[in-house]
Symmetry: C2
Subunit: 381 residues, 2 copies
């Protein structure tokens, strides 16, 4: 358990929280992880030379709290070459087979520069999103959501118009809007984009419409092309519904800004086994090219703690080689009345995504205008 | 909570196990699921007409055990139109946002024929895999795994030769073999396929080599083409690493048989929150077109119970409209010595995947030959 080499930054270090059951020895559990995620063979079935090159090495093993709790922190250093510099194999290395075990949680990753250098990350990032919206003031962006599923494309376009006239920076599809017959994708994108453009022309505003790009494999590029042709500058996508690496590819090949949606990600967030939200949403989604990342804010209708949200924000924003910072997008029951509080806690460099709460008002334009004023007012002059 | 219509088979029914925390009312939890997964708005913010068409309806709510345990079974009927007949949106409907809540487990799904009709499922299925291997006897298929990562393409080809001469039906890449420099994909596929073909020519056997097709988004089709050009008839793919719908698309567009690998799926299998293994591996992987599905067998190095494995087998095999049955592939520490036992328990229509256990023997050809004899001997004449 000595450090693996004298150039420690060259390794991909994964920090795990381990929960050892009765009779489970932490040294063995950590070593099994290192083997399971690489050679899938126990010791003695491969050469020492191969082990030195390929097998993860347990570098640190520290009890968390009283030793009889069975909780340990383990650090395993992997050669980044094991990833083949590919995101699917990286995800496999990180949690592929050990997902099928119990009591293993990825708490943090130390990223080697050699690995980060292979990924462009966000095309726009936080500043780029701000630029797309033409926002010069240092205030949070304001995003409204089109809902509910079941409305027609024209009805959704009517909502777009009202949000845009109210001054929302972005109006996004609800992430359940796909290509259902009620509002087929292409018709919806054209109607909504037209409505936003017309409202902008009338008001002098610069609202953007972001359609939901989450789609079947063969449709992904086609829907992105349709959105770009209609004049959209960004869209919404759920990495775990389409594949994390599909988002990376689409971020590279399209010219759209991408908001990452956390659908399905909660499977990884159960206590004691999985991947920490700040790693999956805060780092992996960013690495995959999300310019903004939506997460369920504390105090909303999902059980995320404020410190988890803060940790996601830190990971989205912190220096990570050449990767642009991505914008935190707290959502999931964000209440208009509490917006000032969250801006104070998270700072101005966020996108405030207000869904259902805006719909409580009869006049959506006025409600949006009041929200934007509230957001502006929350920033000290 | 009355049945939604007189044609009950027209609905997509999801059966959830709910764990209610203190103060959480099961009626409300079930109703919130039905809303969260469709309109993402609470009642009163959408019309009754829209609700009837779009919102899931709670049809049944039954306590599991003593009422003070807070455990309930809930059934919600969704209009299949909500899926837009697309797999990513189906996954979103099934567990997208509620993954971010707690105490919700998808236990079972009743599939409406209208939904199943949109999916072809396995191209080959269980019988087709048997046919590809030219296997006329009613015995399980025998699969060996190439490992460890770190060997060169030539070394892996040497293993292929030995497994093929021993009479393995299939030799597959370990799922961590991607495109690493030790054995780059194209070189590996050519060397291994050549080795298997040469061994077949020598022995009169019909061993198939299945490379790992799990790859970056832009590479998926290219690697499949390379595998097909080299003469491969099937491959390995991990749906959760590349996206479940990518597998569906590749199953439709390629002519390869696909073995689905469960990497990352364990995130969904924590107790009390997630998707039951028999639903995710047994039904969704099959729906996506996996001809065989690998799962961690009971008694191996993963904590799967025998009844879970049996339930996966049932779902892979049971009649499901026009979908072909897929072949169960128990793995993950399957021991040569226990093979007869598992064949007795699971029946002959499985693929026995033996990884590390074969490598305990110095002579891989002899060990494979002994394994095949043991498998053959386990079937009553």
């Amino acid at each position: 358990m000595t450090p693996r080499s004298e150039t420690p930054s060259e390794f991909l270090r994964v920090h795990y929280d381990l929960q050892c059951g009765p009779g489970e020895r932490p040294e063995e559990k950590a070593r099994q992880i290192a083997q399971e995620q690489t050679v899938e063979l126990p010791e003695g079935r491969f050469s020492a030379a191969l082990a030195a090159e390929v097998v993860g090495r347990v570098e640190e093993l520290v009890p968390l709290g009283a030793s009889d709790l069975g909780q340990w922190s383990a650090t395993v250093a992997y050669a980044p070459e094991v990833t083949g510099w590919e995101l699917p194999q990286f995800l496999n290395l990180l949690f592929g087979n050990i997902s099928l075990k119990a009591g293993i949680r990825v708490r943090a990753i130390d990223w080697p520069p050699s690995f980060l250098a292979r990924f462009r990350g966000p095309r726009f990032g936080s500043d780029g999103l701000r630029g797309l919206c033409g926002l010069l003031e240092p205030r949070p962006l304001v995003c409204a959501a089109l809902k509910p599923m079941g409305l027609s494309a024209s009805e959704l376009a009517g909502l777009c118009r009202r949000f845009a006239l109210g001054g929302a920076d972005v109006v996004k599809d609800d992430h359940g809007l796909a290509d259902q017959a009620w509002a087929p994708f292409r018709e919806r994108v054209e109607r909504c984009q037209e409505a936003v453009a017309a409202a902008n022309a009338q008001s002098g505003g610069a609202t953007l419409y972001f359609p939901n790009l989450t789609a079947p494999h063969e449709e992904l590029e086609k829907r992105i092309e349709a959105a770009q042709s209609a004049g959209c500058r960004g869209g919404l996508i759920a990495p775990l519904l389409v594949g994390v690496d599909a988002v990376r590819a689409l971020s590279e090949s399209s010219e759209l800004a991408l908001l990452g949606h956390p659908a399905l990600s909660g499977a990884f967030f159960t206590p004691g086994h999985g991947i920490a939200p700040e790693v999956l949403l805060g780092e992996i989604f960013r690495l995959a090219g999300c310019d903004g990342v939506i997460y369920p804010n504390a105090g909303g209708r999902f059980p995320f703690a404020e410190q988890t949200c803060a940790a996601i924000n830190v990971r989205l924003r912190r220096p990570l080689r050449d990767l642009r910072p991505a914008m935190p997008v707290p959502a999931g029951g964000m209440d208009v009345a509490r917006v000032s509080h969250w801006i104070e806690v998270y700072g101005p460099d966020i996108m405030v995504l207000i869904g259902g709460s805006l719909y409580e008002e009869a006049d959506l334009t006025a409600a949006t205008r009041a929200l934007v004023a509230r957001v502006r007012g929350a920033i000290p002059a």
